[in-house]
């Protein structure tokens, strides 16, 4: 376990270092931060002063080291747009995004796993065909468009939910469903194919020979065995939502989380705020993936973490 943790922490440090490097190259070398962040009307003196403040007159190696050191201390500087520490803004918006992800994936898992298992009971049966078709459609529809259509139908025409914003419980329904549907479709497909494969395993045959009823075999035996692949996928889906797909959903629904803040930062050319978000999200990814690996060990005693 200790070896596993050390291994994963090293891996995590590499990821953080990689992200730092990419952000550094993107913000300091590819883009011109001075031009991006100062208004066009800024004078030459103002530009030079700002450039010096950022340390852009230093050699590139020194620049990177001080840049990385600042990031590792979670010192991202002040947001140019809101005139307060970027980290404060990130931390203030974080809970909203976490709420959205929790609700979205609660929905995806609560529907994806049971429906997938149901489809697997009779492959190619009527129910299976319906479930597979629905998940194929769910996979194919662009998320932002799905969100707009849901708003038109359920918020505008039926008036069941608010069109955007946050505050009440009703506010989270449409964004969460929009975020969750593609993941639900993928979880459903994987659960289905895993259960079908699992039901062909020898241990299922022996369980049947022991006279155990199908229901008992399905719920008592196979569901536990498909948990590792399904959990892997769900974890991956959560990570990719966390790594950016909430941006799309939050933009559509004006959900005041990290994603919408990232879009605002881009539109305001607020580089400091944007890199703070990217960095915090990267750290989150590392933590979540370590947590997931530890969870596998709990489910499957055969997994050797070292």
């Amino acid at each position: 376990m200790a070896k596993f943790l050390v291994n994963r922490l090293v891996q995590g440090m590499l990821v953080i270092l990689g992200v730092t490097l990419v952000v550094f190259v993107a913000t300091r070398l590819v883009g011109d931060p001075v031009q991006m962040m100062l208004p066009l009307s800024a004078s030459a003196e103002q530009r030079a002063a700002f450039s010096q403040e950022l340390g852009l007159d230093q050699p590139i190696g020194t620049q990177f080291l001080s840049f990385a050191a600042d990031l590792l201390r979670f010192d991202f500087g002040d947001s140019l747009w809101q005139r307060r520490p970027a980290l404060d803004i990130v931390l203030a918006k974080l809970p909203k995004t976490l709420q959205l992800i929790a609700a979205g994936f609660g929905f995806a898992v609560a529907f994806g796993i049971p429906l997938g298992a149901l489809a697997a009971v009779r492959p190619d049966g009527l129910l299976d065909r319906i479930i597979v078709s629905v998940s194929l459609i769910g996979l194919s529809v662009p998320q932002f468009w799905l969100g707009l259509i849901l708003v038109m139908v359920f918020a505008v025409n039926l008036g069941l939910f608010p069109t955007s914003g946050s505050g009440s419980l009703a506010h989270i329904v449409l964004p969460a469903v929009t975020l969750g549907i593609p993941s639900m479709a993928r979880i459903m497909m994987l659960t289905r194919s895993s259960v079908i494969a699992e039901l062909n395993q020898q241990y299922v045959r022996t369980a049947r020979a022991r006279g155990l009823p199908f229901r008992r075999i399905l719920f008592g035996h196979t569901m536990r065995n498909i948990l590792v692949p399904v959990l892997t996928l769900t974890g991956w889906e959560v990570i990719s939502a966390w790594a950016g797909y909430t941006v799309v959903v939050e933009t559509v629904f004006a959900w005041p989380g990290l994603g919408m803040t990232a879009m605002n930062a881009i539109n305001h050319s607020d580089m400091f705020l944007l890199q703070a978000i990217v960095f915090v999200v990267a750290v989150g990814i590392v933590l979540v993936s370590i947590l997931l690996d530890a969870l596998y060990k709990l489910i499957d005693p055969r997994i050797d973490l070292a």
């Binding site: 990419v22 952000v23 883009g31 662009p142 468009w145 799309v248 881009i266 990217v278 990814i285």
Partner: protein, 322 residues
């Protein structure tokens, strides 16, 4: 150039085997109605993209204040002038749809080719060389996979400045790893199979072994992966354009059109509905076709499909008897 003209090109070089293969392919495909419909739709999309200037009734960028928000032709206020209506600026939705197919296919194809060739190359090196090279490459892959994908993409695009080429490069940058993992896995497992070992003993050079033995085994899974990745890129392109970080006006893209239409979607449903349907149907068609391809190239899957067909037949018989 017309469709008949295209069809005559292979005839100049007589290759009947190709025709027979194509005929067999279509015959096999037509057995799966959903996959066949998907394939037909994809052919339509490709034709629309290629022949957009010939097919489009209007200039997709031509604005007309008088013809703003005209509904589709079949509705009460619609006119045959604009089959699918017009948007807020009076631009023809159908024409924009046809041109929008170009952006989707261009970005999708370029990114898959760019990311695919880089990823495959790295996977071949990693799997074939093994040892320290492999460790280093896989570590790099692990790091890239753990990057905050879309967010980093947004950052890069925002820094470089949004444009179609930027989008292609950035999407390729964050989507090559899956090819490396796939190729490395297959090469690794094949290196230990007896026939590769035998070829090595017989003195085949690494290049020849790769060409003759490894590549043929890589093609079917790679093809399926590339097709599925294409759908991901298509959706990513649409999302980026929707966020204003992809295709820039006066260019056209389905995602961009939805972004434009979203502000007045309560007044007019058509400017966002048709581009959205175009994306969804294209991605759905590719998924259906890819699924069919995967099943068809896998003998075990074909046997299962046959068994399930029989199962349905038996159930129907049982239902008729009981």
């Amino acid at each position: 150039m017309t469709a008949t003209h295209l069809a005559t090109i292979p005839a100049q070089r007589p290759r009947p085997a190709v025709f027979r293969a194509a005929g067999g392919f279509l015959a096999e495909l037509s057995k799966d109605k959903a996959a066949f419909a998907g394939f037909l739709f994809l052919v339509l999309v490709v034709l629309a993209a290629v022949f957009a200037p010939l097919l489009a009734p209007h200039d997709p960028a031509a604005q007309s204040v008088l013809a703003r928000l005209k509904p589709p032709a079949w509705t009460a206020r619609g006119s045959a002038e604009h089959l699918l209506g017009t948007d807020m600026l009076g631009r023809d939705v159908l024409s924009r749809l046809l041109y929008g197919a170009r952006a989707s296919l261009l970005v999708g194809t370029s990114v898959v080719l760019l990311a695919g060739s880089f990823g495959v190359l790295l996977g071949l090196v990693s799997g074939y060389r093994g040892g320290r090279t492999d460790t280093v490459i896989m570590r790099v892959v692990d790091v890239f996979v753990a990057f905050p994908g879309l967010l980093l993409t947004l950052l890069l695009v925002a820094m470089i400045g949004p444009s179609t080429p930027t989008m292609i490069v950035v999407l390729a940058f964050s989507n090559w790893m899956i090819y490396t993992r796939l190729v490395r896995g297959i090469v690794m497992s094949m290196r230990t199979t007896p026939f590769i070992e035998a070829a090595e003993v017989l003195g085949c050079g690494p290049r020849r072994i790769l060409q003759v033995h490894v590549l043929p085994n890589l093609v079917p899974p790679l093809l399926t992966l590339a097709i599925l990745e294409f759908t991901n890129i298509l959706l990513a392109e649409a999302a980026l354009s929707f966020l204003g970080l992809g295709v820039q006006p006066p260019g056209t893209s389905w995602g961009l059109d939805i972004a434009n239409g979203k502000n007045y979607m309560l007044l007019a449903w058509w400017p966002i509905t048709f581009p959205g349907l175009a994306i969804a149907l294209t991605v759905l068609s590719i998924n259906l076709f890819a699924n069919w391809l995967r099943v068809t190239t896998d003998p075990a899957e074909r046997e299962k499909r046959h068994a399930r067909g029989r199962l349905r037949l038996l159930r129907r018989k049982a239902a008729a008897n009981g």
